[in-house]
Symmetry: C2
Subunit: 661 residues, 2 copies
């Protein structure tokens, strides 16, 4: 006899309780409250095949309320994924277990995205739903025809990014996105009434969502609601009324079950309440059998899909696309042509020029901007807007939603088959920063096109002028920050960003820059992160390291120094991380570690000098800006902060005299 | 004869057009579209007195759509504020003019807050409205009885933080908050339909706001709507239907008027359309007279209020409170008592202990947390929740709204009379970062209580473990980051944070730390940013600089080194910025600049090593974590990353051998 849904759900509850108890750390409340809803979803609706977690046409499931990680670990184990094993679960939250505190996509196939930072799961799911519709428009129903399901809690729904994600999904009419809201009336601090009196349903309806409600503790009722949502053409919010920690007789319905082990006595009481064995981590045979069968539900669909793929005539292309490999064959012809007609150009414009070639050569790119299209130069002439009427378009007007855009791009990248890039001003990486961090942690290939990258943006003033941003982003692991100096470097950096596994930031100027790279190179010089752009003519006494718009200032200052007999190298450093990763001898060649008074090292960057000691040492000269900017035309601002060739040259000479060089 | 409202409004339009034209940069569209609404507000409703811009009981006006800065510059000039002068306006967006690209509170009295980064104006206004109700509860209607008005555009309303701000305002029933929405159907990229299909009115109603609509181009109709909003006990959104760039006959209603000068011809056409003189920057006498009279409208109320203040018997106390001076008289008795009974304690708990004394001694503090009260230890027993039923309370349950909380705290601090502090996890400074930057730029005294400040939080794993955060925050100008090592340093840092003009971040541990400061000191040792905690016993060969939880590891490692005959100083560095600001001789005493092989400098911090070259040089040893964290119990995580006394000591010895020390 098939076990009841409740017994299936109780297997989730038991594993969640037991794992948290064993770790003496974790969040049992959410998995216990949503166990019935998850059972309905995984045993009746979700299209998946545990034996092939990377099946391109699987439904995507996102646990936005990532603290309830035991829910997904239990589901993956029960439905028969290769990992986690029961032993993995027993080592929940321990060093080396793939069952980390919060679900991490790089630990377990089946965990589609890394969640925990609240609100971002829903926003990434929006990106997945966009990618699905786009690929569907490209490859049609035979190959791409799936849904994105989300479980989200009150935390996810209260975060600001939720507003952006809900707005974007409503606007793009992403009817294949279904969010199950764990409406348990509890947050960490206590009742949701402590901090919210919003009508969540009305808010979603205001954003053109379909909303329906159900008893989240009844798998049948949840299933009915899912059917309703599936039938509706709009994105859906399913309000699942639940009780947090359901099954723990004395603690359920309280914040006490949210983020701590229930305790031995309460676990024992819950076992009794739920009709479970006394043995921790045990799953009754009939229950496990039923779950394993559920994990194979999708087998037939999987097989039919594989047949359709074979028959499509597009198998190689499709899989190649999904694999995400891209060629940089566009680069050389582009550079060859560029070098024929060099002129001063802002790197944001140079980025657009490169993108024309990239978008023509690489069909997987999807561009966009958070309402700064004309400023970020992100829309090339050869791509059309992606709209509800044309999901095949490749440009998204994200609206004034920097965070929502960035999180959606993470979802798109992790869905696979598309390479998202999107723009805003560099200063507003602050708005997007939580998503940028998740790009890095998840190694999502997202290219952030961040223009107006210094005081060089001019009149908009301190609120819009990045100062600390470059350095604060360089401090982030697994993220590469590129700040190219001219059109050639911009193209090189684009090529590197598209090739890498992980996110990149392109920091680009508003103002025109003169070409500093005027000859063809045998290799992508930006790939090493830094290289000698100009060698000293006189005896080398100084090395100036500069990035982006300050490279031309460095060249002009060096010229003035050479006139004075001070031999000066100029090093362009478009990517500090890449330089740091070079072998010692390369780094030593570019920035030799000589004793203090032999060669002065100087850095120039129109931003915080914090951290530039790494390249110039304690006795070097850091030229930059360690205060907020000013509202003034760009040239005046540069003059004001001493960032002109004359002022830089004078400062270097004075410094050398003072320090006895 | 009194000039018509439209003529008054056209003076704003003219100044906006002319200033942008002169600068050839700026945003004429918004001021031209909202000129009539602003005229209604400033001539009929807003309580202000241009002669006393700092009148504590003035209504607060926030231009959330800060790019329309010429609107407020025009209003301040027309109503007779001392600055800006007409010359200031003629130098709009030029170096040294207080009329910066975006309005900056530190440039002009009358500009209440710095805006431009979208959405934050509304959120800061929420904080101002909270402060008003709180002070009203404390000082009653006689002294505190004012409103907060906002002008916001579609950008502000689309940003995620708007959701948080609107939710918070609805929840706290801030009926004295009135937002005028410039509903012009245009964003930078074009029609709002490109990116939004939300029913904005319904969304606000869902958050328990009052909403009314009006013709934003009719001062009378706007005034009627404001009356309706004033009469309603809920926060109000007034939907002002407007036309962007109204008055520019060929460009109005298009994105072309948003962010660029109209051009000579269009300005001429607009002059004709609006019935204006040909002379730029000219205001007809009767119009200026009428505006100046409006600037004195509040004179009688101002005088009556001053009389009430005199008669209140609380004048000194009230003004002292509004001035924001606080004493640190609480510190010494607190420390004396603390030193009597030292035991291991997490610095988050030490913060709570200090806060008990602070909240008792300083009535201006208002605490809170973004739904992590029990984790951030921000609620002391001696303060009650601030709720619609008790605005006199001093603790706010902000909900899962880190950004909204932080922006609201900025508004509270800038309103004056209160000192806000609020908590979340350090990793989620990412969510709050745009507001933290505005705290710094505006020098708002906000104390960010950021707990769980490293991998020491343990099992929650990489999504919750800050790595790059400390360094990325230290790179920000005008922000001080404190990372205390024990309970004594925590209290010292709290005292410094409360005293300073500007924001502070307290980075605090989840895990217990043993006391490292066990004796009374004559001064606040943390004030210098770093100090020698332990002097070498043997001949000094190493200096270990550490912060927070790593100080005890440094001490223990030093002990091991001393046993080996390696004399080792330990320097505790709770605040790098403060250390950097010390005179050379102090810094030289603590971290002498000796040549490479004499004394090894070592830094230990459980986070990114990026930037620590500033203190250890190129030949020092940086011990930290340059990758994302791990989910594991804290002790295991520390062991995993080599952050134990044994591993640190071994690493230092090996390094010294290798490098020939």
């Amino acid at each position: 006899m098939q076990p009841t849904d409740r017994r299936l759900a109780n297997a989730i509850r038991a594993l969640a309780m037991d794992a948290v108890e064993a770790a003496n750390s974790g969040h049992p409340g959410m998995p216990m409250g949503m166990a019935d809803a998850a059972t309905a979803l995984f045993t009746r609706h979700l299209k998946f095949h545990a034996a092939d977690p990377r099946w391109p046409d699987r439904d995507r499931f996102v646990l936005s309320a990532g603290h309830g990680s035991m829910l997904i670990y239990a589901l993956l184990y029960l439905t028969g994924y290769e990992r986690p094993t029961l032993d993995d679960i027993k080592r929940f939250r321990q060093l080396g277990s793939p069952c980390a505190g919060h679900p991490e996509n790089f630990e377990l196939p089946g965990v589609e995205v890394t969640t925990g930072p609240l609100g971002q799961g829903v926003a990434m799911a929006v990106g997945m739903a966009i990618a699905e519709r786009h690929l569907n428009a490209t490859y049609c129903d035979d190959l791409v025809d799936h849904r994105t399901f989300v479980i989200a809690g009150d935390g996810c729904l209260m975060e600001g990014v939720n507003h952006e994600a809900v707005g974007l999904a409503g606007h793009l009419k992403l009817g294949r996105l279904i969010v199950l809201w764990d409406d348990n009336s509890i947050t960490i601090d206590g009742s949701t009434e402590l901090s919210r009196n919003e009508d969540v349903v009305a808010r979603h309806r205001a954003s053109q969502w379909h909303v329906c409600e159900c008893d989240g503790l009844s798998a049948d009722d949840v299933s009915r609601a899912i059917e309703e949502a599936l039938a509706d053409p709009r994105p859906s919010l399913i309000r699942c009324k639940t009780i947090i920690g359901y099954g723990a007789p004395n603690k359920q319905g309280t914040a006490a079950t949210h983020g701590a082990a229930l305790g031995k006595d309460e676990v024992a009481a819950a076992r009794k309440e739920l009709g479970l064995d006394d043995e921790p981590f045990s799953v009754p045979d009939d229950v496990l059998t039923a779950w394993r069968a559920a994990g194979k539900r999708g087998g037939i669909e999987h097989a039919l899909w594989s047949e359709r793929l074979e028959a499509s005539g597009r198998k190689d292309e499709f899989l190649h696309r999904l694999n995400g490999q891209v060629s940089d064959a566009w680069l050389k012809p582009y550079l060859d042509k560029l070098l024929l007609d060099l002129k001063p150009v802002a790197t944001r414009k140079a980025s657009e020029m490169a993108l024309e070639a990239i978008n023509a050569a690489i069909p997987a790119t999807i561009g966009g901007s958070a309402d700064l299209t004309g400023s970020n130069n992100t829309k090339t002439r050869n791509i059309e807007p992606l709209t509800p009427e044309n999901y095949g378009g490749r440009y998204i007007y994200y609206g004034i939603r920097e965070f929502g855009m960035s999180a959606a791009m993470n979802g798109m990248a992790l869905h696979g088959g598309v390479i998202p890039y999107g723009g805003t001003f560099l200063v507003f990486t602050d708005y997007a920063r939580p998503a940028i961090r998740l790009s890095a942690l998840q190694k999502a290939r997202v290219v952030y096109v961040m223009t107006h990258d210094s005081i060089g943006l001019g009149e908009d003033g301190p609120t819009h002028q990045p100062i600390e941003h470059l350095q604060s982003l360089r401090a982030m692991p697994q993220l590469e920050v590129f700040r190219p100096a001219d059109a050639v470097e911009t193209a090189e950096c684009w090529a590197l960003a598209l090739q890498r596994e992980g996110p990149s930031i392109l920091a680009l100027t508003r103002q025109n820059l003169r070409p500093v790279r005027t000859e063809a190179a045998a290799e992508n010089l930006s790939a090493r992160g830094a290289y000698r752009l100009k060698s000293s003519e006189n005896n080398r006494q100084a090395i100036i390291v500069a990035t982006g718009s300050e490279v031309e200032i460095a060249l002009d200052a060096a010229e003035r120094l050479e006139v004075q007999g001070i031999g000066t190298d100029v090093v362009s450093m478009p990517c500090t991380d890449r330089f740091d990763a070079q072998p010692w001898d390369y780094r030593e060649d570019i920035l030799p570690d000589v004793s203090n008074r032999e060669i002065l090292r100087v850095s120039i960057e129109a931003g915080a000098t914090f951290g530039w000691e790494r390249y110039v040492g304690l006795h070097g000269l850091k030229i930059g800006i360690d205060r907020f900017g000013v509202s003034a035309p760009a040239a005046d601002a540069y003059e004001h902060f001493g960032l002109t060739p004359d002022k830089v040259a004078t400062r270097i000479i004075d410094f050398m005299k003072q320090r006895g060089f």
